[in-house]
């Protein structure tokens, strides 16, 4: 189980770095949803099923939807 969680934490950190670096805001929202999903899996591996269910439904689904709706009302690409 140590190798699996180490691999997941590595993927999560790389996705977070890419989410901050990219200039496409919709891509950044999807990467944030991916970070929330991996975080939910890590909560399950840490023996916390309540928190995993809450994070998966609230963080991965609703936060991504709210970000995409806010980006849709403003500009998609950040300038310079």
């Amino acid at each position: 189980m140590g190798i699996l969680s180490a691999f997941l934490i590595l993927i999560m950190s790389v996705a977070a770095v890419f989410a901050v670096h990219t200039k496409d805001l919709i891509g950044a929202s999807l990467l944030l949803g991916f970070v929330s999903l991996i975080s939910a899996i890590l909560f399950y591996l840490l023996q916390a099923p309540d928190v995993a269910m809450a994070e998966a439904s609230i963080g991965a689904a609703l936060t991504t939807a709210i970000f995409i709706m806010a980006v849709k009302k403003t500009k998609r690409f950040e300038d310079e």
Partner: protein, 232 residues
């Protein structure tokens, strides 16, 4: 900002973050990962089944031992929703273009078919909050995801007035149940219904009642947030 200032600013932020990371990692040697450092946790683990009667101990902590904090959280959620409604209420934005793409046939058909099952799943989660993982808050999020599906397939039929009345009514009934606990047993939010058999559906006193109210309230609230952000 010229080039030297920019390099200096970015590198100083990076160095400060690195120093904070090193300091935190050194400070966390006092809490080794995987060690048993519970003090209050042991008492809650042993006492939850007898005092509250719920098999899910996290539910017993959230609604039984620390129920007043949950009332505060419901209030903060309500404040956030009210603030969002106030900010976005009078929005005549020129950047909002009408939808250029209409939903396809697959989306419309499957949204009609899947929506009742999503609502049923949400109701199942908050009804069984005291015997299986879940509870009121993920259930409200699942209900709001069902409403999001309705908005995405442009089906209409979401009554915002009814949702607002359901939300405020659930919050009011939550406080009334707490006051009933004050009337019957002398403490606010005290358990005044019978505790019942551990692990059955009709057990744990007022905990399933409270979680049902929270599930309905959070579902209506998040649905209202999505409705306002969609710009209907």
């Amino acid at each position: 900002m010229n080039r030297f200032n920019k390099i200096f600013a970015y590198s100083s932020v990076f160095l400060i973050s690195l120093c904070l990371l090193v300091v935190f990692l050194l400070a966390f040697r006092a809490i080794p990962f995987g060690a048993d450092t519970m003090d209050v946790g042991h008492f809650y683990l042993e006492d939850a089944a007898k005092s509250t009667g719920s098999a899910n101990i996290v539910t017993a902590v959230v609604l039984g031992f620390r129920g007043f904090d949950t009332l505060g959280e419901v209030m903060v959620l309500f404040l956030g929703a009210v603030g969002l409604g106030l900010v976005l209420s009078s929005q005549k934005d020129s950047t909002h273009s009408p939808a250029k793409t209409f939903p396809s046939l697959i989306l419309k058909t499957m949204a009609d078919l899947v929506f009742p099952f999503i609502v049923l799943f949400g109701i199942y989660i908050f009804m069984h909050g005291h015997i299986s993982p879940g509870g009121g808050f993920p259930a409200g999020a699942v209900l709001a995801s069902g409403y999001l599906l309705l908005f995405l397939s442009q089906r209409g039929g979401y009554h915002i007035r009814l949702a607002q009345r359901v939300e405020t009514g659930s919050g009011l009934v939550f406080v009334i149940v707490g006051l009933a606990g004050l009337y019957f047993s002398g403490f606010f939010l005290h358990n005044f219904l019978p505790v019942g058999r551990l692990g059955s559906l009709y057990s744990a006193g007022i905990i399933p009642v409270l979680y049902s109210l929270i599930g309905i309230k959070v579902g209506a609230e998040l649905g209202g947030i999505i409705y306002r952000l969609f710009g209907e």
